[in-house]
Symmetry: C2
Subunit: 280 residues, 2 copies
């Protein structure tokens, strides 16, 4: 049986020989054609790769609390290197620096992504969720998104839009930036922290919805706050998540995109925000 | 005339002699008693210090778009070192890694803060703000916050709460986490990117409001998305900003805190989110 395309995409091989043997957290991977976007892999899969490097590090403490990924340059086809370094380990929290680099056409290694992450040993405390899942139709009642001439990564997700659909016509008629959809890996796959990081980027650029105009865009920086622990991810299993995304401001080349993802049973799993470049 | 306490607090001196002469972006600073919080400086002033290191770097391209600051350990009194490194410079964007370190009691240098930032040359584009400033009373109609036995940094800001006030009694009676206030430096000071970064952290911990219970807390990671350029900061001048903060989820030791800051005339300047540790 072949591995799931997500597992194949985030496979990292530790560099444990030669000079690198003394540096745990250094891995090689290969960028995935199965998650290809316009000019490089889907940003979510690159975020997942950063998360994966932290998860695979032998010295990791606890589970992810926060991840910020900065897209410095387009990742190209072929191999890349990821380095995850625990820069500070406290009693119950650990701070990570991550970078992904790739050789350019001339063979020079360049930084393609930087990231920081925080992992922590969670303890049971008082808690409350003040962002309840919106009341929406169940997945079976929402039609699956099909895009003609879509990019490849879209096919790795089963998306069932509920509101704020991908524009059918680009006529400048947009009035808001709020989207809701059911989403899961296709084929379904049990949720883990890397796949949840990828899902945080699943929303199409808010500027396309807001303007009904398809301008060039690119995510510059994305931050994810994880509210769920691995037990709650296991409860979510391979079921649909409800995603919601909205922008607050579009100005002089950049807009923000904030989003939430809930499990099918209504547990808020992540809140996230990103800043996205747009042209014109 | 003495410098403003904010300028004194974020003063960084380049290390340009000896082995460090080849490494621009390496600075020394001293942690500021004027912005002291419980066990270290106010987190906002540490964020401002990271921003300042980027702003002072001789190789900087453009203005801040995004800043993520991770609080790895408590900063103590005395000198520290900041390193700001442009890890990737593109045609119109630049990606930064920043770290702040300090010697511990035994003289060993440890990482206290890591940060990433993105700066960019903005171009004029289509734009819209979908997060209008809430309709509130003007600053003159809102009473200034005074806290008995408050921490020192509170005195560096003129805060005029409008809603979601700091609890008077800790009786577990909280029902929501939304606060609004007018705020500016005290004495007033023209807004710049470092001071705006500091102001993004000005909201007291949402868990105190939500629970009316004063549990130990500490910000772990804060992300700021800057929507304003320096021209819009100049328009804001030294006037009041309207701040609004709210949490989405509190669970097993961590909650998120999202916020917005508008200029007095209603321009959305920053949107921000942080994840905060809480005990019990």
């Amino acid at each position: 049986m072949n591995p799931h395309s997500f597992d194949a995409a985030v496979t990292l091989t530790p560099l444990t020989t030669g000079a690198d043997a003394a540096a745990p957290g250094r891995f090689t991977g290969v960028s995935s054609p199965a998650y290809w976007n316009m000019i490089g892999p889907y940003g979510g899969i690159t975020a997942a790769t950063a998360m994966q490097a932290v998860m695979q590090h032998p010295g990791r403490l606890g589970e992810p609390i926060a991840l910020t990924v900065n897209y410095a340059s387009a990742l190209g086809p072929g191999p890349f290197t990821v380095q995850a370094t625990p820069v500070r380990t406290n009693r119950s929290t650990q701070h990570w620096s991550v970078s992904l680099s790739q050789a350019d056409a001339a063979g020079a290694e360049g930084v393609v992504m930087t990231a920081t992450a925080v992992t922590a040993a969670r303890r049971q405390t008082w808690g409350v969720s003040d962002r309840p899942m919106p009341a929406v139709a169940p997945p079976a009642d929402a039609e699956r998104l099909t895009l003609k001439a879509g990019v490849e990564w879209i096919n790795r997700y089963e998306m069932r839009p509920l509101a704020g659909r991908f524009p059918d016509v680009w006529d400048g008629s947009g009035t808001h930036s709020l989207s809701r959809l059911w989403v899961r890996d296709d084929p379904p796959r049990p949720l883990d922290f890397p796949s949840l990081a990828a899902l945080a980027d699943v929303f199409f650029p808010r500027v396309w919805l807001r303007r009904a105009t398809r301008v060039p865009v690119g995510t510059v920086s994305m931050t994810i706050h994880f509210h769920a622990d691995s037990g709650q991810l296991a409860e979510s299993g391979d079921g649909f998540l409800l995603g919601q995304a909205e922008a607050q401001a579009f100005r002089n080349g950049f807009f923000d995109q904030t989003a939430q993802l809930w499990s099918g049973s209504g547990t808020l799993l992540v809140t996230t925000s990103q800043t996205v470049y747009y042209k014109e």
